[in-house]
Amino acid sequence: MRQYVLKRLLLMIPTLFGVALLVFFLLRVAPGDIVELKYAGSGTFAPKEALDRERKQLGLDKPLAYQFVSWIAGIARFDFGDSMWTGRPIIEEIKIRLELSLQLAVMATVVAMLLAVPLGTLAALKQDTWVDYAVRIFSIAGLAMPSFWLGIVIILGFLIVFKWMPPLTFTSFWTDPRANLAQLIWPALAVGYRYSAMATRMTRSAVLEVLREDYVRTARAKGLWERAVVLKHALSNALLPIVTVIGLEFAFLIGGLVVTEQVFNLNGIGMLFVESITHRDYTMTQALVLLVSFAFIFMNFMVDLLYAWLDPRIHYQ
């Protein structure tokens, strides 16, 4: 077991390095440069020399290999450098937005779980009845609806019916829970609903499988109360695949945040990412992609670990 863990942890390093390499060079290939964009507002009378001077300051005139190596060397020291757009340290910029996105991801996962487990179990118990179909349609609808559409519908709904809008700025949960939740509950619901689809399906098939097992039939034959049978045996054994899916979905959430934050105007990592790409802020985009990829890989790893731990029947190489 320990060997497996170590091996997986070590494997993360070349993968992350590959990510760093890929994103670094992809960005440099992308047309458009940050200095042009900075001077693109009104009254753009900046001559070429001024632009070149700016590029020099940002280190963009040095050979690519040099830029890459100095960036990687910085990462190894946990120094992510400064944002090319604002000049402020990247860690600072990310820190401001991280709490919101993390909280949103956690809340969305909770929402997804709260929807998926009861609905999936219900659908499994009432397999092939109209309840089953209703649940399946409801959950797949969440997957099918464009999340930005749903978000817009929610915001407009509040505006038209209640003349109200969720708070615009983020307050930490620990400072003011009411304001915090008033802002984040709606995007959490929109995102959570979307991600409950996979989990519902998983719960349903996992519970179905377990219900067919012998020991469940035995328990039923013994006359145990139906609910106890379901809750105790079926769910606890279906836990494994459910946890797997939820873990995987958590990683997917990070991608889903990009569009949601735009629609609900949340100052989070997703918004920062879109901005940094639009601005061609190389250092910021690189840092964010690394961060997100790391989170992704790490979540997958944790899920696999949990999987292996919960089910000793699994063989791993």
């Binding site: 900075k38 507002g41 009104s42 753009t44 615009l168 609900f264």
Partner: protein
């Protein structure tokens, strides 16, 4: 002008009539009440905090309240120039020396006094930036020889030649007065720090989220500012920005919304909404790559501008976007605007679109452009008004048998392609802080002489006319030269031509008082006169 009954009946329309018709938006009877925090929405975030290097309103709106400028525009009488830090000023007889007297007793927020030396240091930074310091509008000050501060209260500007636009540039909203001491220690200090002499003191900035300022008790104008403070909330996307004003979370958004947003806000806020409208000192123009065939042929270029029905565009697009007014090189309604009789004579601005289109088709045929000829129109990927313009242009050119592909690009690639000449036709824009010909005409100078001309042509006549008009102080003398330039640039040669000028619509809560809309969204945003009704 065809207006539907529905539009007339809409409150928004009526309110906007009132706003434009009124000589002054504020009923003089209301007395300003001190107190309150103004919450407003801003659609872009500031990259750095230095007004001399930035070019976006996203920097000006939250940061201008912290600073003073040497001169400013009178908010009630735009474009009249009045003093801010300056008390009086006068030109020498030959017009080559400007002497400015500074007010006594102005203090920076850290308590140090503001003197002529600070003004000199500021303008040295803008006009003669040291190595490594960026100054976005340096080229506008090419007429300045040097800046001197003979004593604590006097600044002297020595010019190389007479320039009509010089004084206006001293009123530029971007020219924040900085502390000479800070600049000496670190000329880039102001990129990440805020310390000015304006009506508000910096409190807090959370990147991407909000900016907070509080009242400066030692502000040099007695009794101002009225507000206790302000809070700017950054909202990038249009829909939540409009929603913020509709829901009352933000009192106002200072740049401008499109007609749909205005109507929604009026519908929700009812009689608690006020709409201020003004022609905007911004336009959309079509730029053509004059180095590329067939755009190197003036007949083809003229055909392209002839095909556009600006009258229809003005009516239709004004309902869905900020595009509205038909004008030439200058903002309709400004003192340099093209007189209507002359405007109609320019190709593409006439009343008979069918005749114009027939002429266009004839010109294309003469120039040897085949039916169904296709080219690419590059654009920014901003929905409104860029993509809206793009869609309209493609449709218009279809009507003369041209097959145009509309390609919206992200900002980076867009500016790249335009600068490198990697395009056929492009949608361009021009937004200035005042209706000064030197600013707007800069677009039409030969490409080598002008950093903002993407159309890639050389025209000595235009260059010469530009120089001449910029050295004349009297508007009467400048006008004929300007008209000549206009006729040549967008008429005969049609190197690049304006599509429409914009309308600035600012719907806001009736609580906002003391703010009057002007043609430029860059000007008068220091909030010193603003107050909140209960």
């Amino acid at each position: 002008m065809v207006i539907s009954i529905k539009a007339i009946m809409s409150r928004g329309f009526i309110l906007s009539l009132l706003a434009i018709g009124a000589p002054a938006v504020l009923p003089a009877a209301e007395a300003p009440r001190p107190g309150g925090e103004l919450v407003f929405a801003v659609g872009e975030i500031p990259p750095s905090f230095d007004g001399h290097r930035e070019t976006t309103f996203g920097m000006l709106h939250p940061i201008a309240p912290h600073y003073s400028t040497l001169l400013r525009f009178d908010p009630q009488n735009y474009p009249k120039i009045v003093g801010d830090v300056a008390e009086t000023w006068s030109f020498s007889r030959d017009g080559l020396t400007l002497t400015v007297k500074i007010r006594k007793g102005i203090k920076f927020h850290d308590g140090t006094p503001l003197t002529a030396h600070d003004v000199k240091a500021t303008y040295d930074k803008i006009i003669f930036p040291p190595e490594g310091v960026a100054s976005a509008r340096k080229a506008l000050y090419s007429m300045v020889d040097k800046v001197e501060a003979p004593d604590d209260l006097t600044v002297v500007f020595k010019l190389k030649h007479i320039a009509a636009s010089f004084l206006a540039n001293l009123a530029s909203p971007w020219n924040f007065i900085y502390s000479a001491e800070r600049l000496k220690k670190d000329p880039r200090w102001y990129e990440k720090n805020v310390m000015g002499s304006g009506p508000f003191i910096f409190v807090e900035h959370v990147a991407g989220s909000h900016w907070v300022g509080k009242k400066n008790p030692a502000y040099f104008m007695p009794g101002r500012p009225y507000l206790d403070g302000f809070r700017a909330i950054f909202i990038r996307d249009t829909a939540p920005r409009v929603a913020a004003v509709r829901s009352g979370q933000a009192v106002v958004e200072f740049r401008g919304f499109n007609p749909a947003a205005r109507d929604d806000i009026v519908k929700t806020l009812g009689n608690k909404a006020v709409v201020q409208e003004s022609p905007w000192a911004c336009n959309i123009l079509v730029t053509l790559n004059n180095e590329k065939k067939p755009f190197s042929d003036a007949r083809v270029r003229r055909a392209l501008t002839l095909a556009i029905d600006r009258n229809e565009a003005s009516k239709a697009l004004a309902q869905i976007s900020v595009m509205k007014y038909i004008g030439g090189v200058f903002r309709p309604g400004s003192e340099f605007a093209t007189p209507p009789a002359e405007l109609i004579k320019l190709p593409g601005f006439g009343k008979d679109i069918n005749a114009a289109r027939n002429e266009a088709k004839r010109l294309l045929k003469e120039a040897g452009v085949p039916e169904g000829f296709s080219f690419v129109l590059k654009n920014r990927n901003v929905k409104e008004p860029y993509e809206v313009s793009g869609v309209y242009l493609v449709d218009q050119w279809r009507k003369i048998g041209l097959n145009v592909t509309h390609t919206p690009l992200e900002g980076g690639p867009y500016f790249n392609d335009l600068r490198q000449g990697n395009f056929d036709a492009g949608v361009d824009f021009d937004c200035e802080f005042m209706d000064e010909p030197d600013l707007y005409l800069l677009k039409y100078l030969s490409s080598e002489a002008s950093p903002v001309n993407y159309a890639r042509y050389k025209d000595a006549t235009l260059d010469e006319l530009y120089e001449r008009q910029s050295r004349m102080l009297d508007v009467k003398d400048r006008l004929p030269l300007i008209r000549q330039m206009e006729r040549r640039a967008i008429g005969e040669q049609a190197y690049q031509f304006p599509l429409l000028w914009w309308q600035r619509i600012v719907p806001h809560s009736s609580r906002l008082k003391g703010w009057k809309i002007g043609p430029s969204h860059y000007v008068n945003q220091d909030l010193r006169d603003v107050w909140l009704a209960p």
